[in-house]
């Protein structure tokens, strides 16, 4: 075994108290000294507790189903004055009361009850069976009371305890419950008229029959003589529920089965245990019109995304009763499926929610930091006007042509300072000076960079610095004076175009020198560079005191911390998590009565 696994084994033994006293003392000393080991111990014992919790949670869910099934019965108004216990009377073990071969059933005494034979008796046993024993149904040879022992088996554990199997002439049966009733003193009594027995069961299955148990010489029970379940003694509950289930099945097959199965994903999700996952009011709303809910319910959007962005059909005319029947049918079928194996979209959705809430918070902070940053590019010059008076020109730009506007980018990590002391702005100076001619200059680059950089034209010999903006209707080409690319330039002189910016968190830069001509198109290819690299390049060009400085932005460090967190949590981002619904709402009760404004009822 790997050393890590050996350590896990050791922790296991420690938690189980299986270490020898000497080892135990040594291990505890190690624990006291090593916080990392303590942490490992804690994680491991949490995992063990979680395993226990998982099983408990399953039991609790079953109890909840049981509770709702009972409530449903009461709601239907089918109670008989006594609580109706059984949903179906399924498997009943009766046999003539005489001593037979010793079987598992006889080896352990069940629960003992004393019955007064002079009265009708309704007996509810502790495990849950309900017996109705009318006066005169038991012949006890003149005695007025009798003690009977009752054994019930509902779970596999019960069956093992009583040594029961569920075979019928070699065929396996699925059991809804078994019961054995006999007098404590053998041969002291006989049943002469029917005794009604109801057994609780979580599931109703078509074709369930009542079998009689016959014990063979080896003490094994063979279940024989199948008979359909009698509804006569419990005149309402069984038949009504079975009718509901049958109708639910028909409705399911008509409306749902084209896209859904209980057990498997078809076009839509598997529906097993759907009532465990979603509240009833949500289910009703969703079944009737999921498309409407898409507009305001996050969970609906999540499911929509997870299933190919195809909405479910709508069923606006299904009655409450029909939906109830469908859900009852699905709930009943779900019992056949291991609930651990059903994809729980709620869980994924919750992770999604959690992720989005955290990411949203981080992004909000990030944006606030960016907003608080200075502008990305700052041009500083100290044109005091003295240079302009040397060359008196009066220029007015033609009214028809608009000059370009540089795009301002918010600074995320870097700021660029272009310092141009004593430099002139192109607008004021160039036109009309000797050697200057109307030209056309365009700078192009790929669109993703173009969207993120500032572009400049520098003519060191004339101390001219102009910031570029997009050419009219373009997202990749820049120009520096009017929107059509026209600009007065000194022909034959050395000029530079450069781009500064940040792209995907990296500093990018490009610069190209050229000799000015009448019509030029220059391509820039910004590349990721470090601050030093940029400084190096700029230092080697003769820029006539133009300086380009790059600094970290004011909040760069904080933003980088947030970025690291965002990247860390992105690894946990569940699939289908992208939707534009508002996950930051404090509760998800946006269906039903709390509809947001704008959603029509």
């Amino acid at each position: 075994m790997r050393p890590e696994l050996e350590l896990i084994e050791k922790i296991e033994q420690y938690l189980n108290g299986k270490l020898s006293p000497a080892d135990n003392t040594a291990f505890e000393a190690q624990l006291a000294a090593d916080p990392n080991l303590r942490e490992q111990l804690r994680l491991q014992s949490d995992i063990r507790a979680a395993l226990q919790r998982t099983v408990l949670a399953t039991s609790v869910r079953h109890a909840r189903q049981h509770y709702h099934a009972m409530r449903w019965l009461r709601w239907g108004g089918f109670s008989l004055g006594v609580a109706v216990v059984a949903i179906g009377t399924l498997l009943m073990l009766t046999r003539p009361w005489h001593s037979g071969p010793k079987s598992g059933l006889t080896s352990i005494s069940g629960e003992i009850y004393t019955i007064d034979l002079t009265r009708d008796t309704i007996l509810k046993t502790r495990p849950g069976a309900l017996l109705r024993i009318p006066r005169g149904s038991i012949d006890a040879r003149g005695a007025t009371t009798i003690r009977i022992a009752i054994k019930e088996a509902y779970t596999i554990a019960d069956m093992i305890r009583y040594g029961l199997t569920t075979r019928s002439d070699g065929q396996p049966l699925s059991s809804g419950g078994m019961i054995d009733i006999r007098p404590v003193d053998a041969d002291s009594a006989r049943i002469i008229r029917p005794v009604a027995v109801s057994l609780p069961t979580g599931r109703i299955e078509e074709g369930m029959n009542l079998y009689k148990g016959s014990v063979d010489n080896n003490g094994k029970v063979n279940w024989v003589d199948p008979r359909p379940l009698s509804d006569t003694t419990q005149p309402t509950s069984n038949s009504v529920i079975r009718q509901y289930l049958a109708e639910g099945r028909t409705l399911f097959e008509t409306h749902c089965s084209q896209c859904h199965s209980v057990a498997h994903i078809v076009t839509g999700p598997a529906l097993a245990y759907i009532e465990e996952r979603r509240p009833q009011e949500w289910l009703f709303g969703y079944i009737r019109d999921n498309r409407k809910m898409l507009s305001y319910d996050c969970y609906s959007q999540y499911i929509y995304n997870a299933f190919n962005k195809t909405p479910m059909n709508t069923f606006p005319s299904l009655t409450d009763k029909s939906i109830d029947q469908i859900l009852l049918y699905i709930g009943n079928q779900s019992q056949l499926i291991d609930s651990n194996k059903v994809t729980n979209y709620t869980r994924e959705f919750d992770s999604c929610r959690q992720y989005r809430r955290m990411a949203g918070l981080l992004e909000k902070n990030r944006l606030a930091l960016i907003t608080a940053n200075e502008n990305r590019t700052e041009v500083r010059n100290n044109n005091s006007g003295t240079a302009i008076t040397d060359t008196p020109i009066v220029y007015t730009s033609p009214a028809a042509v608009t000059t370009v506007t540089p795009v301002e980018h918010p600074s995320i990590y870097y700021t660029f300072t272009v310092e141009s002391f004593g430099w002139y702005n192109v607008d004021a100076l160039l036109k009309g000076l000797p050697g200057i001619q109307q030209s056309e200059l365009r700078v192009s680059m790929t669109a993703e960079y173009a969207a993120e950089v500032n572009v400049f034209l520098a003519i060191p010999g004339r101390k001219v610095l102009a910031e570029g903006g997009f050419l009219k209707d373009s997202k990749t080409e820049f120009c520096f004076y009017t929107e059509d690319g026209q600009i007065p330039l000194p022909q034959g002189e050395q000029a530079y175009v450069f781009a500064t910016g940040e792209y995907q968190g990296k500093l990018v830069f490009a610069i190209r020198g050229f000799t000015v001509e009448r019509q030029q198109s220059i391509e820039l290819q910004p590349m990721a560079m470090t601050k030093t690299q940029i400084a190096d390049i700029v230092a080697h060009l003769d820029l006539n005191q133009l300086s380009i400085r790059v600094d970290d932005s004011r909040n760069a460090a904080k933003i980088r911390v947030i970025d690291t967190s965002l990247a860390a949590i992105a690894r946990f981002k569940p699939q289908h998590c992208d939707c534009d619904c508002r996950l930051d709402e404090p509760r998800d009760s946006s269906w039903g009565e709390k509809m947001p404004a704008g959603a029509t009822k």
């Binding site: 890590e4 395993l51 039991s59 779970t155 959690q354 404090p586």
Partner: protein
Amino acid sequence: MDDQSILQLIRTGKNDLALNALYRNYPTIRKMIRARGGTTKDAEDVFQETLIILLRKAADPQFRLTAQLTTYLYSVARFVWNDQLRNRRAPVSDNVSDLADRPALTSDLADYPDLAGTLADECRIRLAEQALGDLKDRCRELLLLFYQAQLSLAAIAAKMGYSSENSAKNQKYKCLESARSRLKQLELLQQTQTL
């Protein structure tokens, strides 16, 4: 069924029967949760959590019931709900009237001083449960068979098709390892939330 029989059922591992009896308290709890601003869904969740806490506590032989079971469940449920409310409102606690509405916790705490600790434990264990849920099905099944069904390694090897008891054991430790590391991840993830 009286309180002691229910506790007896829990101690003898008959949780299902105990739960069926305990569920009778649900309407009371639901009423209380709804009166405190919860939905029916909230009530279901809180009640289930309450039952789990009771089951876990009652399984401990040291556990002594100092009040009626109904009263105990009520207090625990109220505590669980208050805790949930606090967690929900934490990110939006700028609303002062919310704070005023918040029911006092002290009375619960006076009755059951260990509840706060229990709840913190449960919260951690729920995270561990999530980590288990994220394991591969086979891994989860193996761990459940071993720790909950308490099958022997030999039986597990036979049932799940491992070549030997030893390889089932090795597999068990590997599964524990990945559950542990997933739990660690989830805890880190939760911590970043407070950033």
